[in-house]
Assembly symmetry: C3
Homo-oligomer: 127 residues x 3
């Protein structure tokens, strides 16, 4: 159910991108109880001029390894859970992919739980 968009600068090998996607998904599973199989992710690579990030906003130092992760998910997770998701995603991206935690940008877009159809034209989470 989360639909995850992962954006990064072009030029990384597929294995690197896969590890990023794996780490983000594992964080979702471990912190907000997303089922392991509930995995839908879109990775996009961008040329330098097309991925614009501030290298220092909030005194966080970002480099060309920055990863912008936008996660659309059902509403209702507590603030504590959302914080734990951010924390775990950054930890795993550091441990498993070698990213600096400063380079992990995450945004959550919350939607109603009935706003998903996983196939067959049904709203599987309605009710």
């Amino acid at each position: 159910m989360p639909l995850v968009r992962i954006s990064l600068l072009a030029g990384k090998p597929d294995s690197h991108k896969r590890k990023i996607a794996d780490a983000v998904h594992r964080a979702l599973v471990e912190t907000i109880s997303i089922p392991v199989q509930d995995r839908f992710q879109i990775i996009t690579e961008h040329a330098q001029p097309d991925l614009i990030y501030d290298p220092n906003y909030l005194n966080i130092s970002r480099t060309g390894d920055v990863v912008i992760i936008q996660i659309t998910l059902s509403a209702g997770r507590t603030l504590e859970l959302r914080k734990s998701l951010f924390r775990r995603a950054a930890d795993l991206l550091h441990q498993e992919v070698g990213l600096r935690k400063e380079n992990v940008f995450i945004n959550l877009v919350e939607v109603a739980k009935e706003n998903w159809s996983f196939g067959n034209g049904e709203a599987q989470y309605a009710q």
Copy 2:
């Protein structure tokens, strides 16, 4: 007003993509009364490693023909209308494009009706 993002694996002909976009738009028109001319869609193709979908989540069998459709639209449609949108989109994608309904993934992102500017710097739907 709906802004529709359609993501699929690379390699389909333009005619296939167009039919998908047509079917999704027709479903919006027929079920939730979107004006025919209110059509704004962005199609993106992705290499295999960059479009990750579970092939079996919720016992729905997905293949490389999977289409992930994210629709940003104004809030306020009833659950019944949203369900009919899902149903009609899957039906039309099956009938008109030949997709298996299992391969139709849809997510709705609802926003306030005043959160759109269709041009000229005005919020045309704000009152």
Copy 3:
């Protein structure tokens, strides 16, 4: 904090795209008090068949120069502020980039202010 996605037809020089991104960011800074450094933007170019826009919806005449701007931002701006953002973005895109205001399509997606992590696994805007 706003995460800005800018979509346009392929074939424009980088300088054109940069000016668009600059104008959108400046509008955010000037109207809704986004910090200058709070800048995260993703620009995507699309082939003709993949960027579908109605050339006349609401009697607004759109051409191949159309720019579709989707801005995810924290909720809470008044309608007046959001209107001023639309107005200023269209004005600046006209003045600084030479776009016709009819070609400026903007959509806002509002999220909770705690739904952002700018790095380090923290929710910097929570609290």
